[in-house]
Amino acid sequence: MKIHNRRLAGLAAVALAASMALTACGSDSDGGEGASGDGGGTYTFIPKNLGNPYFDTSNAGGEKAIGEFGGEYEQVGPATGDDPAGQVTYINTATQQGRSALIVSANDPDALCDAIGEAMDADIPVVTYDADTNPDCRDIFVSQADAAGIAQAQVDLIADQIGDSGEIAFLSAAANATNQNEWIDLMTAEFEANHPDITVVDTVYGDDDDQKSFDATAALLQTHPDLAGIISPTTVGIAAAARYLSTSDAKGEVKLTGLGTPNQMREYVEDGTVDAFALWNPADLGYLAAYTANALATGEIEGEGDSFTAGDLGDYTVGADNVVLLGDPFVFDADNIGDFDF
């Protein structure tokens, strides 16, 4: 009899747990069902991870665009940015729900391909933004910037800041970093072709490590006392170099620019160490991605060579490999840095 009671109590306890779980589930369903709609145009953003300021900014841009063309905005995604399996789950779910389009920043170039393929089989257009999958997996990639544009923007910034003459050096990431090397080659060629008074005296590597980049900056200033400027085409490098310069005698004398994020660079822009630096505007990226998805969903564009209008950003044409290019990098300076939080 004792055991009997125990088992009954056990059943009751589990049933209690069950009812709690199910009520949690049930009460949520009231809030959720309105959003899913009846095919009336829900656009699902799947960033690399949720709670990431960069994607919060970009997806806010997407939400704005979706509001403009009268769709519904939804954002789902995994908790960490190295979880392609989590993204697969969300892509599968969105496929089941028959969303109008998916806008994905891929955590892995290959791992999402099957799930995206199943979505596309169900006539759901898939746009990648920020981070692409393999080109044959998705419909269109909305690219934040191309190498030539990134190189050009940094050359223009440094040339402007040092008066188009003097010695400059690069503070890069790793010596074999593909992106950085491509940009540095393009920048060097641009200096030789159009800025004859600027000489590139050195390229040093901080391996995208804060302390190494900091030390490399210090060494650079000692070896080249006449240095007029530093370009660091990596967010870790430019922040570390700015931290060094901000406390050294060279502050304001040696100009620093490159690719950085507003949150990392804010104090150095405000204290005058850095005049301006470049990156793309994530809000514009999300905005363009949403319009691209809409153009695909309505059949306005299908692929390479087709054109569409992306709200305030103007007209875009789908380029080779089905890539839409956002445009030139965005320049952050003391006047606009307060507008950004990522």
Binding site: K2, I3, H4, N5, R6, R7, L8, A9, G10, L11, A13, V14, A15, L16, A17, A18, M20, A21, L22, A24, C25, G26, D28, S29, G31, G32, E33, A35, S36, L50, E74, V76, P78, A79, D82, D83, P84, A85, G86, V88, T89, Y90, N92, T93, T95, Q96, Q97, G98, D108, P109, D110, A111, C113, D114
Partner: protein
Amino acid sequence: MSTVSPEATPGSPETPSVERTYAAYSRPFWQRVVLSREFAVIALLVAAIVFSRSQVEYFDGPQTMYYLFRDSASVLLLALPMTAIIITGEIDLSVASIVGLTSVSFGMLHDDVGLSATIAALLAIGVGVVCGAFNGFLIAYVGLPSIAVTIGTLALFRGIGAGLLGTESRTDFPEGWTDWAKDRIVEGQPYPMVLIPFVVLAIAFALLIHFSSFGRGIFEIGQNDEAAHFTGVDVARTKAILFVLSGAVAGFVGIYLTLVSGVARAENATGLELSVIAAVLLGGVSIFGGRGALHGVLAGVLLIGVIQRAMLLNGQTINVINIVIGVLLVLSVMSTSLLAASRRVLAASRGARSSGGPSRSAGKRLLS
């Protein structure tokens, strides 16, 4: 073990071959089946499915159960050996890392070394077996605590995988193999192919755990491994075999996950060990060992899967889903302790009323 047959107690002075004068079980069969924790989990699973089908939009769609099975397959498979290991009172935290390492091995053996997919798959399962044997040797024969050993190998196996492949991945697998991982057994039905090996393994493990003397040894070790040793159970060998089985199944899951996602990478299945252990505990297996049943565990895995999928379709974020599953798990573990406490209170009050009762009746039984 509530039933110890007379043959299993050698050496006792009066080995009477007389009939027992008390019932083998205190309750009839149907009560033992229905009023069990396993059955409660199954009932909960059915309730969750019925509720979701009627209340959650798209849940009754054709893809839901297919995705549910496909996504839960890894946990279902890994839960089989994990159930046996936890019943012995041990734990294997390294299963997901073995999955990652075998995924890397399979990818590299096929793409870099150029072996055929069949041989690469067999060698990858072999890697899983070696990993499991390494765990098993340290735990069973060196006598180290399994939680410490497998925390170490959790990092070690994942580290080897990451060292071999770095941040790269391998994606070139035979079309037939990757299609197999996604095919359905019968077109139009929600049952993916992976359920076939799963059912075979589930039957094998059910026989092993519940219907073999090896399985009775598993439960005995969980109750008291010294007592098990003295009743003739080879404790070390049993534990070692279970860890090898765990490694082998993890190897198979590594290949399955590689094929279903089409990518061999070192990060595959990161954190999966926690899902497996959570499902096993939810399914009614005691973390202290000695108690549990496979059907409860499988219902536990599916219950978590159904709740996840229903909430996903409802537009919940993964954090909310994790909160719900976490609460469910804590409640289910708490229910055991709460019951134990209430039983003590009950026993204490009854003991105060009729002290000496049990010993008198025991004496009567001996006399009769």
